[in-house]
Symmetry: C2
Subunit: 139 residues, 2 copies
């Protein structure tokens, strides 16, 4: 998401994975590997060769955090109930109740995340940026 906001702010030209990696203090290969899912989902595009790199695939207003999360293959909840002893009725009961909760919770979280777009993030950044600018001017 950090990277994506940078892409919003430099929509006119592509950013290389090396530049993106520098933003978040990591390795270019890690960046490419990570955002490959975003490319597959059409959220970003990549181009090879001279002048190539990464750009947003569409308008930031149409890109929600829910979509980003899904494209990255992230789970919204930190547990997944896999049966370990299929015969145990206690386990079946626990899994059933937990699954009900999980399905409902995931729906809720996804709904919340779908209401936040990249444009919102970029706007928040802009607001902070201008605030700093004004402050600096005043001082």
């Amino acid at each position: 998401m950090h990277i994506l906001v940078h892409m919003v702010e430099t929509r006119e030209h592509a950013l290389t994975s090396e530049q993106l990696a520098a933003f978040i203090h990591t390795n270019p290969v890690v960046v490419r590997r990570t955002i490959a899912g975003l490319r597959d989902a059409g959220i970003v595009t990549s181009s090879r060769g001279h002048g190539g790199g990464w750009q947003l695939g569409r308008a930031p207003e149409t890109i929600s955090l829910a979509e980003i999360s899904a494209a990255l293959g992230e789970t919204l909840l930190p547990f997944s109930s896999e049966p370990e002893s299929p015969g145990c009725l206690v386990e079946q009961a626990v899994i059933a109740v937990l699954d009900d909760f999980r399905v409902e919770a995931e729906r809720l979280l996804a709904e919340k995340l779908s209401r936040i777009t990249l444009a919102d993030l970029a706007a928040d950044f802009r607001r902070r940026y201008e605030l700093i600018g004004v402050t600096n001017h005043a001082v």
Copy 2:
């Protein structure tokens, strides 16, 4: 939780960590280590020596999954936004938006989990148990 339901079903006497470990196919020490948090929260009690072991600390109707989760030190969401480059405004914006979401989401999830009690899990188990009993009888 698997272990806790077993404790509901055998409230009259204590279960040893060895017995509990057998239920979930793991090691007694792992059990003791894991549920130490439950003991500190008063959800279960432990006693040493002959005839000792683990028991519920109070009525299963008063023990919610939210409390269990908290006592075990589990996180409800699979991410925590720690600033990595404190000066970066992009990062600040991302963290701010994400934190808003996180706080609200955690509140929601905790609220949902607080409505499910150990007694509910045990009841679900009972239901399955009697269903099997009836089925077996019929067949």
